[in-house]
Amino acid sequence: MPVIALVDDDSIFQFTATRMLESAKLARNILHFENGGEALTYLKENSLIAESLPDYLFLDINMPFVDGWMFLEEFTSLKNSLAKQIRIFMVSSSIDPRDLNRAREFEEVIDFVVKPITVERFSELLKTG
């Protein structure tokens, strides 16, 4: 089972998502980050420890500090030094096509997901990913 990281400042989303992932037994371990900066710091610190690194990362666009785009930009240069390949899901409550297009520029972004995410959706994503 994969390690999953949730990068979002919305605590309620963190809660509901975690609940869904645990109940569906979709994750071995769930990592929580309030913003991109925290996530990056963790990745840097654990870059060589594969077990600590997430397999999947759900990334919210709108976060304070380092938002989703900023994270992705930094991640692009970081990913090659990581012990594991991380697949990223872009998450947002907006369906702005501009966000969709922008997400496509990053090859590690596998998909763009719109909130609210149902458990069914989660399992769908994690199966195919």
Partner: protein, 925 residues
């Protein structure tokens, strides 16, 4: 007493007059003839006893005295004869031969005189004549210096006339000269011949002629010419008479003549030598070869030893001369290779140079040459005498001809000198001519090049014979050889039939008037068909004033003709186009209008005639002239606007669109004139509209941005909680745990509160956006800030922040109070919130004016923001950059909206851990 018959004979003879006188001159007897005579001549009747002297005395004292003297003489005992002249002037003078004899008595005492008178007038006449003749002869002989001699062969005496003595410069003492003695004077070389001549003459009784020389006693030489004739008596030569003439002078003259003739002959000889030399020069194409030959001719004919030519060269440091040619007689060594004579510097021979440069001959015996070095050089060449003559070419001292005499010092004769001088001048002239010819040739070559390259054919038409000579390029240009148009008839036949009449008429007229002729016609060329030819010529008159020769130039202008046609066609097309154009079109050259269409007339109010020739700039308003001129000069070809002026002075908006067109080597400008008054007005409107639109567009853009932002905000800030609520509700429904359910409800409440807050904020923002017409108040920055400081006094006290203000430069503003308060509130609270823990917080507020706008700067020394990372987020909703418990991230967003709603702007500058400066631009209202 005489016998009777004798006395009567005497008596009767009229010619014999006899009378006798006694001692007292009284007639003792007289013949009747005497009586008659006395009567006839003297008018006196004599009688015996009359005193003849007294009688004569009465008639003519002189005659009387003469007679008396004679009588006395006779009475003294002398017999003599006289010839007397008697008679007075009136009567023809008569000559009497009077024979006076004394009469003796028996004692031989003189008792009287008898006079026998013969009238000898005839004889006297004769004698006179003879005497005259003799005199004349004598004079003649004297004048001719002819002497006469008579050689009495019997007595061997020679009698000479005085002239002879003079001739022979003998004094009279010589008087008689013997033949032998004479011969001793004769020149030895001539002696034998003379003797022979005389001997022959004697033998043959013939006359001899002689010319021989004599050497006189004083040693001088005389030339004698003479004749001799033998006089015979009874066939024996008895005497010889002859003449002698001193022909010494003549001989001398002859000699002089001969010498002169020789000299003349020599001169003629030299002249012909000169002529030959000159012709050599003239015919020999290479002047140096010709000169060489000429020098030889001159040299051999003048008997000099060297003839040479030097040519000058002008160097920076003086004039030098070098020997170029030499003829040598063989007497002295040739000098052509003498190094001294190459680049001989005239400075070494000033006397020579002076002469030559003044175009005078330098004639000198070498020993007389002044300059030592120069003399040496000459001596080394064995020259005794020298002549050097300058050769002038185009009035420049070109060089010189020299003549050396090496055998002896010789003065050149005048003839020789003038020959050589002529030669020098001829050489100069020929050199000039050669130069000329070369120049001519050059010019001819240039001329030919030009005519050839210009495709012009030159012709020479000799009217009387009708023959025409063409220049070489005829074949090339027209495609036929000379022989095919070498007569005027042949030429005529090649002129196009339609053009013939006009061409010939013009030609005839020109020939009549001896004027120039300029005509174009079509001319048939076998190779090229009909060519357009331009024929220009002029006639020359003979001395009768009739045209006898024509020189002209024919030029193939087919291409030009074609071009002309094309141009004409295009011009007419253009004209059509012009007229069709709706605008005014003008063609101008250097400002002057060449052509204008109707449109321009309509536009400007000037008639077409007025326009043509007018200065185009007159159609433009004075204030625009500079611009127009500059644009014309620069060949500006983009339409531009100016103000135009019509004929009536009215102004209008004029669009000018000019274009430079090269035409026949000139640059002509075509300009289109358009009245754009309407358009200008429209433009104005459009501009205004544009401005409005721009404002609207700006507005829309801003609104769009804001809308975008808004959408973003809505979608995120509202959708987030909504999606949370949905998820939570789902959990709630699926949950059976009460405790869990309660926590879900709490979370639900949180989410809905978030949503509600967002909605509220959005509402606030909407209100700002909608409330553009919010009321403005006259505010003092100082006061509004004071108010805000009051509201934040706790935070100010806690943070110990120092607040500085400087509103002096712009203390006032007309602005909504709420907004200004909000701005101050947000910026101040932010600055306090984000102060640095390391230093005393300091915030400065300042205002100033710039370009009519009021700007405010709010500067703090707080934490600062990494603008590189977060610059784009600064004014966005819910963007916080610090983990600050109180940062909600809406303040800046709010005030940005407020500021922008009223047309202002806000900027941020910041450096992390140094501080931040916000600049607010309020729009001037």
């Amino acid at each position: 007493m005489l016998p009777e018959y004798l006395s009567s004979a005497i008596e009767s003879s009229s010619r014999v007059i006899i009378f006798s006188l006694d001692k007292n001159y009284r007639y003792t007897a007289f013949s009747s003839s005497h009586f008659q005579t006395m009567k006839k001549i003297w008018g006196v009747e004599i009688e015996l006893g009359a005193n003849l002297v007294e009688i004569l005395d009465r008639i003519n004292k002189t005659d009387a005295e003469k007679a008396k003297a004679n009588f006395d003489r006779a009475l003294s005992g002398e017999s003599f004869t006289t010839i007397e002249e008697y008679g007075d002037e009136q009567i023809h003078r008569i000559f009497w031969e009077d024979r006076y004899d004394p009469i003796y008595d028996l004692e031989r005492r003189v008792i009287g005189v008898v006079v026998l008178v013969l009238e000898v007038s005839d004889r006297m006449e004769l004698l006179n004549k003879v005497s005259e003749t003799n005199q004349r002869l004598s004079l003649a002989l004297n004048a001719a210096q002819i002497g006469i001699w008579e050689w009495n062969m019997i007595t061997n005496e020679i009698i000479w006339s005085d002239e002879v003595l003079e001739i022979y410069n003998l004094d009279k003492s010589y008087g008689q000269l013997s033949f032998e003695k004479y011969l001793t004077y004769v020149h030895l070389d001539d002696l034998e011949k003379l003797k022979a001549d005389i001997a022959t003459s004697l033998k043959n009784n013939s006359q001899y002629d002689t010319v021989h020389r004599v050497i006189l006693p004083n040693g001088t030489l005389r030339w004698i010419s003479g004749t001799g004739k033998v006089i015979t008596e009874d066939g024996h030569p008895v005497k010889m008479i002859g003449t002698v003439v001193d022909i010494t002078q003549r001989k001398q003259m002859e000699e002089a003549n001969r010498v002169q003739e020789q000299a003349l002959e020599h001169r003629d000889f030299m002249l012909s030598a000169l002529a030959e030399a000159t012709s050599q020069l003239a015919i020999e194409p290479d002047i140096w070869i010709g000169l060489q030959k000429a020098l030889e001719i001159l040299g051999t004919n003048t008997g000099v030893d060297r003839v040479y030519v030097f040519q000058n060269k002008i160097q920076p440091d003086g004039v030098y001369s070098s020997i170029k040619l030499e003829w040598n007689s063989g007497v002295a060594a040739p000098q052509i290779a003498n190094a001294d004579l190459q680049n001989f510097q005239f400075a070494a021979a000033p006397s020579l140079y002076q002469c030559l440069v003044e175009n005078r001959a330098f004639k000198k015996h070498v020993r007389d040459i002044v300059e030592a070095d120069f003399r040496e050089v000459m001596k080394n060449q064995q020259i005794k005498s020298v002549i050097m003559l300058p050769v002038q070419v185009q009035n420049q001292f070109w060089g010189f001809i020299g003549i050396d005499e090496c055998k002896t010092e010789r003065q050149i004769t005048e003839a020789e000198y003038s020959i050589i001088k002529s030669f020098a001048i001829t050489v100069g002239a020929l050199l000039e001519q050669k130069q000329f010819e070369k120049e001519n040739k050059d010019w001819q070559t240039r001329y030919e090049l030009v005519t050839r390259s210009a495709g012009q054919i030159v012709y020479d038409y000799y009217v009387p014979s009708g023959k025409i000579i063409w220049s070489d390029n005829l074949l090339k240009e027209v495609g036929c050889p000379q022989s095919e148009i070498d007569t005027v008839e042949k030429w005529k036949s090649l002129v196009h039939p339609d053009d013939r009449q006009a061409a010939f008429d013009l030609r005839d007229k020109a020939a009549e008037a001896l004027s120039e002729y300029d005509v174009t016609y079509r001319f048939f060329s076998k190779k090229k068909g009909y060519l357009h030819m331009r024929d220009r010529g002029f006639f020359m008159a003979n001395n009768l004033g009739k045209a006898y020769r024509m020189l002209g130039v024919m030029q193939n202008i087919t291409n030009e003709k074609i071009a002309e046609e094309d141009l004409r066609e295009s011009e007419s097309r253009f004209r059509t186009l012009q007229e069709a154009s709706f605008g005014g079109i003008g063609l101008h050259y250097q400002g002057k209008i060449l052509d204008a269409n109707k449109g321009l007339t309509d536009l400007t109010g000037y008639s077409n005639e007025e326009l043509i020739g007018m200065n185009g700039l007159q159609l433009v308003a004075p204030e625009c002239l500079d611009e127009v001129k500059a644009k014309i000069t620069a060949g500006y070809d983009v339409p531009y606007d100016v103000i135009g002026i019509r004929k009536d002075g009215s102004r209008y908006n004029l669009e000018i669109h000019g274009k430079n067109i090269p035409h026949q080597g000139k640059i002509i400008r075509v300009t289109e004139f358009r009245d754009i008054t309407d358009r200008k007005q429209n433009e104005q409107k459009i501009l205004e509209q544009n401005n409005k639109l721009t404002l609207i567009a700006d507005d829309l853009k801003r609104k769009n941005e804001q809308l975008d932002e808004f959408t973003q905000i809505v979608s995120h800030n509202l959708r987030s909680p909504v999606s949370n609520i949905i998820s939570l509700l789902d959990f709630y429904e699926k949950s059976s745990d009460e405790k869990e359910k309660i926590s879900f409800i709490t979370m639900l409440r949180e989410a809905s509160t978030k949503m509600s807050n967002s909605l509220h904020e959005l509402n606030e923002v909407l209100k700002i956006k909608e409330n553009k017409d919010i009321a403005h108040q006259e505010l003092l920055f100082e006061n509004v800030l004071a108010n805000v400081k009051q509201q934040l006094n706790i935070q100010i006290a806690d943070s110990k922040v120092v607040i500085n203000t400087d509103f002096l430069r712009a203390p006032l503003i007309s602005y909504p109070n709420i907004y200004l308060e909000s701005i101050f509130m947000n910026l101040l609270s932010n600055a306090i919130k984000y102060r640095s823990p390391n230093r005393t917080p300091e915030i400065s507020f300042s205002t100033h004016q710039e370009n009519g706008e009021i700007l405010m700067k709010v500067k703090d020394n707080g934490l600062g923001i990494d603008l590189k990372k977060y610059g784009h987020h600064v004014f966005k909703l819910r963007k916080t950059f610090h983990k600050h418990p109180e940062s909600r991230g809406i303040g800046l967003f709010m005030i940005k909206n407020q500021i922008e709603a009223l047309g202002g702007e806000i900027f941020i500058e910041s450096v992390e851990n140094v501080g931040t400066t916000f600049t607010v631009k309020f729009v001037k209202n």
